[in-house]
Amino acid sequence: MLVVGLGTVLVLLGYFLGLYFFGSSIGGLVIALAVWAIMSLFAYFQGDGLLLTMSGARKINRDDHPRLYNVVEEMKIASGLEKMPEIYIIDDPALNAFATGRDPTRAAVAITSGLLQKLNRDELQGVIGHEISHIKNRDVLLMAMCSVLLGTIVILAWYGSRFLILGGATGSRRKSSSGGGGQAQIIVLAVALVFMILAPIMAQLIYFAISRKREYLADASSALYTRYPEGLASALEKLGASTGQLKSANQATAPMYIINPFHKEGIKASDLSSTHPPISERIHILRAMAGAAFSDYDRAYRQIHQGGKGIMPATARATTGVVPLAAMKPKARLEEPDEVQRARETSDVMWRLNNYKAITCNCGTRLRVPPRFKEPKITCPHCGRTNLV
């Protein structure tokens, strides 16, 4: 529904542009749609790798981090995704994760090393469930297309208003006045001018609204897959408490992350102008769920918003029946690695991904050998023994 709104803004913008500069609405429409088509094609075929390259993510396989790989595979099975998504780790202490890939068969999930350290297994499952459902619901493609639409509107409106200010439209104005439309024509042009200024703002707000809706849906899907909304809720709590910002994020890629990478918690204004719903609200909804079905999420949402409309689409609510929650699990289970172990594990992975070799000396010291080190032997700085590389 909102996507249609965004498209309408673009069409109207093209219409007014055409009216203003060419004296006919068709020309403007054609230009608007052409710019949009070219940009979408580019986004469709180039967008995949872009986000991963920009964020400096490193691809891992099963042996690098078995737990992460297993959790992703579990969520892949729970969601019924046909193909295992690729897994990337971003070497960044900030806490965040995102999904990418234009269709479910060529998708990837990425997680920062900071998040990997912080979360226990259930929380990790909740976060990965959220990302997998972005893939399953094709949100990646939807948001890419929407951001292209938004970009087109911003560019067209920008150029349109520049030309206007510089008086580039005199030709068409003369033509229209000689045509004898008079008063009506001026009103239309005034409307066009106002619209051109407002269009980017409107488009931005619609874009944010779409993004927030998909976030709610992804949270609900994660709860449905894991049958355990508490996992995601407690992960979001940890995410919300952190203050670090992701170095590699930007406005265009923001909707793909699990939380807004530019988040400032507690600012009410972020309601309308944010890609993500407030974290505290998402946690409240997840904790208020009585079952794991979409209808339960919807009920919890309405409960928190004191009546009003639900957030889940009616079709999604109808498809699943009564789904019980899993039993509450203890915060830290005995067999699970604690945070210190997880930190060590994660840094080991990062060293290995950077081609460092780890050698354990007989005295117990661990030596990390950089890939540029070409000597066959290395002396332990601690005890003086010589180790083979």
Binding site: P66, N70, A78, G80, E335
Partner: protein, 188 residues
């Protein structure tokens, strides 16, 4: 003439509807089949993991011979009935699950075993395989629900009946220990 066109239009519309519903029924049925296969893969993976796990645990757990044997026996039994019906299998696999959870409960008493890297890796694999079994069962049941709904709801039920789509069975856990605690009743 107009009447003829209207009739042709209606027939064409019905034909398109028939094709669409038929194809979606086939899609749903294949989804059910695939998700069943996924359960199979995970159960087999668990069977493959257990000998290694028992072998590693044996060296440390001198006093738990019975628990270990129970796991091995349950595993062998489950493997024997792997090609029989869903009901028999579900029972054998359920027993294996409860034997395993007993084993993992006593592991807490053996700190040396818990520090063993090999065992930790196996344990992670086993935990994950257990999760995958329950997630694939969950997905199987979800897709059975979707498929059954379609075979029973109007209008797709007409086409389902015509072309022989039958409702599928859910994968129920039949072992008491895997479900909620049994109710104790004192009235005979």
């Amino acid at each position: 003439m107009i009447a003829v066109w209207i009739i042709i239009g209606i027939v064409a519309f019905l034909l398109v509807l028939f094709i669409a519903i038929y194809n979606s029924l086939v899609g749903r049925r294949n989804e059910v089949k695939n998700s069943w296969a996924q359960i199979d893969v995970q159960l087999k993976r668990r069977h493959d993991l257990i000998p290694n796990l028992v072998e590693t645990a044996k060296g440390y757990m001198k006093h738990e011979r019975e628990t270990l044997e129970a796991v091995t026996n349950a595993r062998n039994l489950a493997q024997q009935v792997a090609s029989s019906g869903a009901g028999v299998r579900a029972k054998a696999e359920g027993e294996l699950s409860s034997a395993l959870s007993r084993l993992l409960a006593v592991v807490e008493n053996y700190p040396d075993l818990k520090a063993n890297q090999n065992f930790l890796a196996l344990q992670e694999e086993l935990t994950s395989t257990e999760n995958k079994i329950s997630f694939s069962r969950q997905y199987y049941n979800d897709s059975v629900l979707r498929y059954n709904n379609q075979t029973q709801m109007f209008p797709s039920n007409i086409i389902a009946n015509m072309t022989g789509f039958k409702a599928s069975e859910f994968f129920e856990v039949t072992v008491a220990t895997e479900k909620e605690a049994p109710k104790v009743s004192f009235t005979q």
